[in-house]
């Protein structure tokens, strides 16, 4: 039987297992918006850690990051580990989000901002930012699945078929039982993706003669890839900062992950979530980068670096069965991210745009119905973007830079989020102006390819939006009463839990 048949068989088994888990999760689904979007804030530490990991780590890792390593070398490791270092800020933000989420009953991070700044326009602006910039991020997950199935099948499975499979699964996982089905399928998918990627990396390193020989071969064959800036000029400091800065604040700027900070059921679950994720992330990053380095030795000279993983998996040294399981693992990584994005965007639309701006009197049932309809609509938009971008070549259309570009737009909400927790003087007007101006700068520079002084769009946007937030806030009137109450509550609660 052909490889294509076994790929189809493997995908069918994966879908069946995922569907089974999602339907099991549905049995526990209660009523209401909080239940659908946040699993009623009652998730345990183990599932929270795995859903956080699976949502964060996507096709970006084993395809995008591996491809970036293949093309540009060790700078890709530094870039990704800078994100993980940014997770240190969780010691500040995780307890703060969790405490105010429980106290005030926020559904989305944008609702938190609206309430804190006492202005629904703040949440709506952040929501529009998310809706605009998460589309390309969702699309790169779909592209990853398309490339992978196409590469492993030797071109027999068109890229668009892989994209369609990913879209359908993501819609199903998120619609069946909201966060419960997303979190449970995420847990299954996270375990699958890290296990199979570790096994296949072991096979490759073993074939190259073990770690010592592998490192020796890298030093003799591609020494220029082991330093920054790279000899052939791929990495320079501007590119590093341009890619790493949006990643550094990913934990608060990306609502699909910051919404996860509302869900642990207790402080113990919160600690397990953070610890589990940090360990998972460290291991998975090293696996993905070493995998990319393995590809530079075994499949050199590829025109599209995002194809490094599919090409490596199609080598005869990797048994076909294992290659298909790895492909399913990476597919799982992609789908577990996009279903979370779809669910978050649906909650953001329902709560912050529909209820916040369009129809404030909508019932909880009506709000939920709106959110559920947004899921397939956003999926179709991401599908169209993925289809369009999958035909393009060049660094800007590689998975890693495209993903980082999406986060560059979301970065513009970071001063507003910092202000909400740490600066009583921050105002709604400062928040709205800084987000809008920053996002316009990012979009214009991104679309025109303009990089004055060599600085990337996200850096320019950030450099402008931070002082703008401060200056406009100082010139306008803050919501003093709410700021005192919000930050005052946190001060007391943080002390009680020995948070910092």
């Amino acid at each position: 039987m052909s490889v294509t048949f076994w790929i189809g068989f493997g995908i069918a088994v994966y879908i069946a297992v995922g569907l089974g888990i999602a339907l099991m999760a549905r049995r526990q689904l209660g009523a209401g918006v909080s239940e659908f979007f946040l699993a009623n804030r009652k998730l345990g530490g183990f599932v929270s850690a795995l859903t956080y990991s699976a949502t964060t780590y996507s096709a970006f890792m084993m395809i995008g990051l591996a491809g970036l390593t293949y093309l540009t070398g060790v700078g890709a490791l530094g870039f990704e580990l800078t994100y993980l270092c940014g997770m240190f800020m969780m010691v500040f933000f995780l307890p703060r989000f969790w405490l105010v989420g429980k106290k005030y009953g926020y559904i989305s991070p944008m609702e938190l901002l609206s309430d804190r700044y006492q202005n629904k326009g703040v949440g709506a602006t952040a929501a529009i930012l998310a809706l605009v910039f998460l589309v390309p991020y969702g699309a790169v997950q779909l592209m990853g699945v398309g490339y992978l199935m196409n590469g492993i099948s030797g071109g027999e499975i068109p890229v668009v078929v892989g994209i369609i499979i990913a879209v359908v699964c993501a819609i199903a996982w998120s619609r069946i039982a909201g966060l419960r089905s997303v979190a449970w399928t995420d847990a299954f998918q996270a375990l699958l993706m890290i296990t199979v990627s570790a096994v296949v990396l072991g096979v490759v390193i073993n074939a190259l003669g073990g770690f010592g020989a592998f490192f020796g071969k890298l030093e003799s064959a591609v020494p220029g890839l082991l330093t920054v800036p790279t000899a052939k000029g791929s990495w320079n400091l501007n590119m590093f900062i341009g890619l790493a800065l949006p990643w550094l604040f990913f934990l608060i700027s990306n609502p699909q992950v910051s919404q996860r900070l509302f869900i642990p059921k207790s402080v113990t679950a919160m600690k397990q979530m953070l610890g589990g994720f940090l360990i998972f992330g460290f291991i998975y990053t090293l696996i993905s980068v070493l995998w990319g380095f393995g590809a530079t030795l075994l499949v050199p000279g590829l025109e599209n670096a995002d194809l490094a993983t599919p090409r490596l998996l199609s080598l005869t040294m990797i048994p076909t069965g294992l290659a298909i399981v790895v492909m399913i693992g990476i597919t799982a990584a992609a789908i577990s991210t996009i279903d979370s994005i779809l669910l978050t965007l649906s909650s953001v639309w329902a709560r912050d745009i529909h209820k916040g701006l369009i129809n404030p009197k909508v019932s909880e049932k009506g709000e939920l119905r709106v959110g559920q309809w947004v899921i397939p609509i956003m999926a179709i938009i991401a599908f169209v973007f993925a289809w369009w971008a999958a035909g393009k070549t060049g660094l800007d259309f590689m998975i890693a830079p495209l993903a980082s570009a999406a986060s560059a737009g979301l970065l513009m909400a970071v001063p507003t989020i910092f202000g909400a927790f740490f600066w009583k003087r921050g105002t709604a007007f400062g928040a709205i102006v800084s987000m809008i101006v920053g996002a316009i700068i990012v979009l214009v520079f991104q679309l025109t390819g303009c990089k004055p002084l060599g600085w990337w769009p996200g850096v320019w946007g950030f450099v402008v939006c931070v002082p703008l937030f401060v200056i406009v806030s100082l010139a306008t009137k803050p919501p003093r009463e709410k700021a005192e109450e919000f930050i005052g509550y946190l001060k007391g609660a943080l002390k009680k839990g020995r948070f910092i």
């Binding site: 490791l77 530094g78 800020m89 307890p95 460290f282 990053t285 009680k496 910092i500």
Partner: protein, 62 residues
């Protein structure tokens, strides 16, 4: 300084090292024991310091 301020200073130091060591100190060392090893140890240190802080958290009812 408060514990919180110390944690922010430590985080700033980590970010400064992220740029200074690989980009300026190890820039011409084309070995796995250079930037690759640095970033691996550096990230492990960041993770370990987060563990030191959050393991002290205790249960509260919001």
């Amino acid at each position: 300084m408060t514990k919180s301020a110390w944690a922010w200073v430590w985080f700033g130091l980590l970010l400064a090292l992220d740029i200074a060591i690989p980009w300026f100190v190890l820039t011409h060392v084309e070995k796995m024991s250079a930037a690759f090893l640095f970033w691996t140890i550096w990230a492990a240190a960041a993770i370990a310091s987060a563990f030191i802080i959050f393991l002290k958290w205790r249960e509260v009812k919001p």
